[in-house]
Structures are given as structure tokens and as C-alpha cells.
């Protein structure tokens, strides 16, 4: 690894690995389409990957399950895995690098020094902050310590997956390890959030290619996610949307409506509150996505999705009333209590204000008689 040539371009590396120019062009066209570029954008991608030296990448793993890496290496185009991951992240990644122990740590240090302010830091996983961060130690150092040091001289930080973006399952209540998403721990370096559990491989590739092609961050939304992939809700482009608009819903997973492929809204589909590209890009080489296989969306790319209600229910718990409560149950109870209170008040009024009521009624009756 120490004998790496100066800095080759992606295209050069590809040719060395036996890919044809045709494969390369197909990849560039695919990624350009994912990025939402116009047709001429393909040329920009081609040029960038042919001319620009490869970006050094450090890919860190903290509190996570590596499903982001798994998703990435299984993206539809093999070039993604071969080049973007294998070559691009060769500098340091616990999962796939050949080096281990002191050699691996030295590798990271070399990259940090040699490409100061140039390398991209990719992070999978959240960082535990409880008990001084001992819940996640690598090479004898806490993940918080490593994060602070490596992010300080990075060009940009890409947060892969919900763990790094919003803490995912390990930050769900009661969050024993104090799992914290990356953006709450570091300052002064641009952060791109690519949430999902895992994010779609093509989306991950798209974000990296954008960074390589244009040399700057893709356009981000208010939460810090690339607009190209996270500006629409899964619901907005869902192929079952016509059933939703028609008011045709699956009532339970084994009913007739489920067989007919009606909308899964009432069995807890979180598509209407989830910003992701699943219903457009789909998974496993565009084969399917959860809703297509008859299962509602979990909203895995949304912040706090583990605590924001049951996975198979639309309604969320009413704060402070336990997980079985929802706004409608509490509201109905409150409305009944209000009704009872009103009835009691009406009875009380007739007793305690009887003099007043009597006077008004008598005065009116007198007038009626006089006429």
C-alpha cells in the first residue's frame, strides 16, 4: 500500500482493472441520471472521472452495523464498488482494508498528513458520549476523539446512514450509550447527510460522484441532505399513490385490499413522512422497494423513527401518556370529560343562579301576558 503511484485518475484505475471504455461511459451516464443532471451533464462526469486525480477518502466506522457499506458494494453498477469504494476508500476503512493494527493506523495518519484539507471523511455510525465514550473504542481511542481529530482537517464529511445522521436505533430512548449523530459533535467542516438504514447504494455513489465531478457539495436541504435524493417523499412517487388518492386502503395485511395492492397508509406506512429516493431508484438494481413487496415504509431515513410511534401504526403516541395512547384516544377522552363537566356545570348553574334565572324568566313571562 505504501508503494501507491502518485495520484491516478478514476478512469486510469478502471482501465487497469479491466473495464472497457464502454462500461465506463455506461456508469457515467447512469450516475449522471441519478444526480438529476441534464444529458450534457454526462460529459462533465466523464471528464471529471478521466482527468481529476482520485479523491483520498477515510471511511470510519463507529456505532453501526456496516449495512451502509453492504448497501454501497451492492449498488447496481459494479464500478461503484470497484472504484468508488475499493480504490477511493483504500486509504482507511476498517471493514475492507488489508492492513490492520499499527499499520492501519499509520495508513490513516499518512493520508491525513499528505492530503490535509483535501481528503473526504465518510462516517458510518453514531458516536457514544456517555461514560467518556468508552462504548466505542478503536485502537485504544474513543470514537469521539478520533472523529474530532480526523474531521478537523477534512475537506468535507459525509454521514452515511441514519446512525451518523440522526443516531438511528442506538439513540432511541433511553439511549444508554449517549449515541450522538455527527453533526452535533463537530463544527467548521461541511457535512452531507445521507440518511437511511441503509441509504440506497446508488444514492451513496451519486453523492460521491457529485463531489468528484463538481468539486463541491451537492445542493442540500434544510436538514443537510442532498436535494437530488431527499427532496421528495417516498409517498410522492409511490406507485400505490393512485390508491391513496382514491381513498382505497389496506385495512390489515391479510385482507382482500392487500391482495389488490391498495395503499398501505392505514397499516402504518411512513411513506408520507419520509424523504428518500426509494420509490424512484428502488433497491437491488432497481428490483423493488419495501412498499412494492407489500410492506409499509418504516421511515428509516427520518430522524427519531424508532421513537416516533409503532412501526405498523400511523398514529403516534400522545406525549406523556405511554405508547398505547394517541391524539385521537386522548382527545376523545378529553371531549367526554368536557361533556360531563359541562353537564355538571349546567346543573350547578340552575341551582346556584336560580334567583337570576328566575327573574329573567318571570320578567319575560309577564311581558308575554301583557300583550
Amino acid at each position: 500500500m505504501s508503494t501507491r503511484p502518485a495520484r491516478t485518475t478514476y478512469y486510469e484505475e478502471l482501465r487497469q482493472r479491466g473495464y472497457s471504455r464502454r462500461d465506463f461511459m455506461k456508469f457515467c451516464a447512469t450516475v449522471a441520471a441519478y444526480l438529476g443532471l441534464e444529458a450534457s451533464g454526462t460529459a462533465q462526469v466523464v471528464q471529471a472521472l478521466s482527468d481529476k486525480p482520485r479523491i483520498p477518502v477515510i471511511w470510519l466506522h463507529f456505532q453501526e452495523c456496516t449495512c451502509c457499506s453492504e448497501s454501497f458494494i451492492r449498488s447496481s453498477h459494479p464500478i461503484v464498488a470497484d472504484i468508488l469504494l475499493d480504490k477511493l476508500s483504500l486509504d482507511y476503512t476498517e471493514t475492507l482494508m488489508a492492513a490492520s493494527g499499527h499499520q492501519a493506523e499509520k495508513c490513516m495518519r499518512d493520508t491525513m498528513e499528505k492530503y490535509k484539507g483535501e481528503y473526504v471523511l465518510c462516517i458510518e455510525g453514531s458516536v457514544p458520549t456517555e461514560a467518556d465514550g468508552v462504548y466505542c473504542m478503536i485502537g485504544g481511542r474513543t470514537s469521539l476523539d478520533i472523529l474530532k481529530e480526523v474531521s478537523a482537517t477534512a475537506k468535507a464529511v459525509i454521514c452515511w446512514g441514519s446512525c451518523a445522521c440522526n443516531g438511528c436505533v442506538q439513540s432511541a430512548k433511553p439511549n444508554p450509550t449517549g449515541a450522538t449523530p455527527i453533526h452535533k459533535l463537530i463544527r467548521g467542516v461541511p457535512i452531507i447527510k445521507v440518511p437511511g438504514c441503509p441509504p440506497i447504494g446508488e444514492v451513496m455513489a451519486g453523492v460521491l460522484v457529485h463531489l468528484i465531478t463538481f468539486g463541491k457539495l451537492p445542493e442540500l436541504d434544510g436538514i443537510g441532505r442532498p436535494k437530488a435524493f431527499y427532496s421528495k417523499r417516498v409517498h410522492d412517487t409511490c406507485y400505490r399513490r393512485p390508491f391513496y388518492d382514491a381513498g382505497l386502503f389496506v385495512e390489515s395485511f391479510d385482507d382482500e385490499n392487500a391482495k389488490k395492492g391498495y395503499c398501505l397508509y392505514k397499516v402504518g406506512c411512513k411513506g408520507p413522512t419520509t424523504y428518500n429516493a426509494c420509490s424512484v431508484t428502488k433497491w437491488n438494481n432497481g428490483t423493488s422497494y419495501p412498499i412494492q413487496s407489500g410492506h409499509g415504509c418504516f421511515g428509516c431515513s427520518e430522524e427519531n423513527y424508532w421513537d416516533a410511534g409503532a412501526l405498523y401504526a400511523r398514529a403516534q403516541p400522545f406525549p406523556g401518556f405511554g405508547i398505547e395512547s394517541d391524539a385521537d384516544k386522548i382527545g376523545t377522552a378529553a371531549a367526554i370529560a368536557t361533556g360531563v363537566g359541562i353537564a355538571a356545570h349546567a346543573v350547578m348553574t340552575n341551582i346556584r343562579k336560580s334567583k337570576l334565572i328566575h327573574d329573567v324568566i318571570e320578567e319575560g313571562k309577564e311581558a308575554e301576558k301583557e300583550l
Binding site: 436538514i223 398514529a315 368536557t338 320578567e363
Partner: protein, 239 residues
């Protein structure tokens, strides 16, 4: 028997009454359609999805009613500065000691009824005014959360003003839940509001219910003079 001569007082101006009824209609529509969006009815239908657009219409009506609600609300805030003294914003926001004293009086006389007799107020009493103030805050939160959710699916500039809402909450789900919970505030408010209108009409016979139709309340001559004297004393004190 002591017969009362009644003075006709013009309390609610036409714009206030129009606001009230548009508001009532909009809130009713929003609550019904909103409830259905949260919990769609189970409907059996043998045809194809393209033959109907039921849920689409429910949502469309919700959004249209929301725009009407907002415009109406903004108008009412404006009228709080140019309308008559019963419509003025000072009726709603407690700024003086007297305001709090009156709230306490109303609580004692009308709500807990530990004090006999009646509380005299030509327009809103202090407690009612304050509850309306809380309602206006609920209006605001409902508008912010509602349009915050709507912003992602709208190109309109108005919805665009609310793109900051979801990032503030982190995700749509929390915004939705708050929006849903607040709907029940409106339902509870409506129940109590309608009851209290009947209560005042029944107890005092001053035309509480019909005042939102013609704008008039009918005050006994003695009560009218007493109120006038009270107002005069107060303006003298203020001067």
C-alpha cells in the same frame, strides 16, 4: 315586578361577524377533513383507482380551507387595530392588573360559582378574551405546523415561507403529531364555546347568541348607566 328598559348596543361589527363565521366554517371543515386524513374511513369499492379521487378531494378541501383560515386570521389581527373597542387587541392580551382581577372575578362568578350574581361585560369578559388569545396562539401553531408539512409538496410562495418548520422538528412525524394533537384543542374549544354562549344567553337574556348575527346586545338601562359610569371613572383615572 321591576321591568327593564333595554338599550341596544352595537358590539360586533360586520367584519367581526364575517370573520367569526368564516372561521367557524373553516375550522369545522379542517377538523373533519383533518380527522379523515389521520384516520381514513374504510370504504368498499369494486372499481379501479382511477375512477375516483376521494382522498385527493379530502386533502384538497383541507388545503383550501387552510388558506381561507389563514387569510381570515390575518384579517382579524388587522381588525384588532382598526375595529371598535370590543374588537381591539387589548381585549385579548392581559396587560393590566385589572385584566387579571376581572379574570379571577369571572372564574368565581361564572365558572366555579362561589360568588353569587352575574358578571357584567358588554363585549368579551377578561377570561373569554384570554382564552381567545390562547386560541389565536393555537391558530398560529396550527398554521405553522400545517403549512410546514404542506411546504414539501407545494410550489407556492406562501407554503415556501414554512420550509424551516420540518428541520426545526427534525422530521415530519413530530410536526404531524403536534398538528393532530392541536386539532383536539379546537374540538374541545368548540364544545365549551357553544355551551358558554348558551349559558350567557340563558342566564342574562341579553341576546348573546344572536349578537353574532346582527351584532347587537341588549343591556338593561341600569346596567348600561352603571357600565357608563365605570368607563368614565376609568378614563378619568387614566387621564
Amino acid at each position: 315586578m321591576n321591568y327593564h328598559k333595554l338599550r341596544r348596543v352595537f358590539v360586533w361589527e360586520l367584519p367581526v361577524r364575517v370573520f367569526h363565521w368564516i372561521n367557524a366554517l373553516a375550522i369545522t371543515t379542517l377538523c373533519i377533513t383533518g380527522y379523515m386524513i389521520g384516520k381514513p374511513p374504510a370504504i368498499m369499492f369494486g372499481g379501479e383507482a382511477w375512477e375516483r379521487y376521494l382522498f385527493g378531494w379530502i386533502r384538497y378541501i383541507h388545503f383550501v380551507a387552510a388558506y381561507i383560515f389563514v387569510a381570515n386570521f390575518v384579517f382579524r389581527i388587522y381588525w384588532g387595530f382598526v375595529g371598535n373597542k370590543y374588537a381591539n387587541w387589548k381585549n385579548f392580551i392581559p396587560t393590566t392588573r385589572k385584566y387579571f382581577q376581572e379574570m379571577w372575578e369571572v372564574l368565581k362568578i361564572d365558572i366555579f360559582q362561589t360568588k353569587p350574581g352575574e358578571h357584567m361585560a358588554v363585549g368579551h369578559n377578561a377570561l373569554a378574551g384570554f382564552i381567545y388569545f390562547l386560541t389565536f396562539i393555537a391558530f398560529g401553531i396550527q398554521v405553522i405546523t400545517g403549512f410546514g408539512l404542506y411546504a414539501a409538496m407545494s410550489e407556492s410562495w406562501f407554503a415556501g415561507l414554512f420550509t424551516w418548520v420540518v428541520p426545526l422538528f427534525g422530521a415530519d412525524s413530530g410536526v404531524r403529531n403536534l398538528h393532530h394533537i392541536l386539532m383536539w384543542f379546537f374540538i374541545l374549544f368548540t364544545i365549551v364555546h357553544i355551551y358558554l354562549v348558551f349559558y350567557h344567553d340563558y342566564l342574562k337574556g341579553r341576546g348573546e347568541i344572536s349578537s353574532m348575527g346582527g351584532g347587537w346586545k341588549f343591556i338593561e338601562e341600569e346596567a348600561f348607566q352603571a357600565e357608563k359610569a365605570k368607563e368614565a371613572a376609568e378614563s378619568k383615572k387614566a387621564a
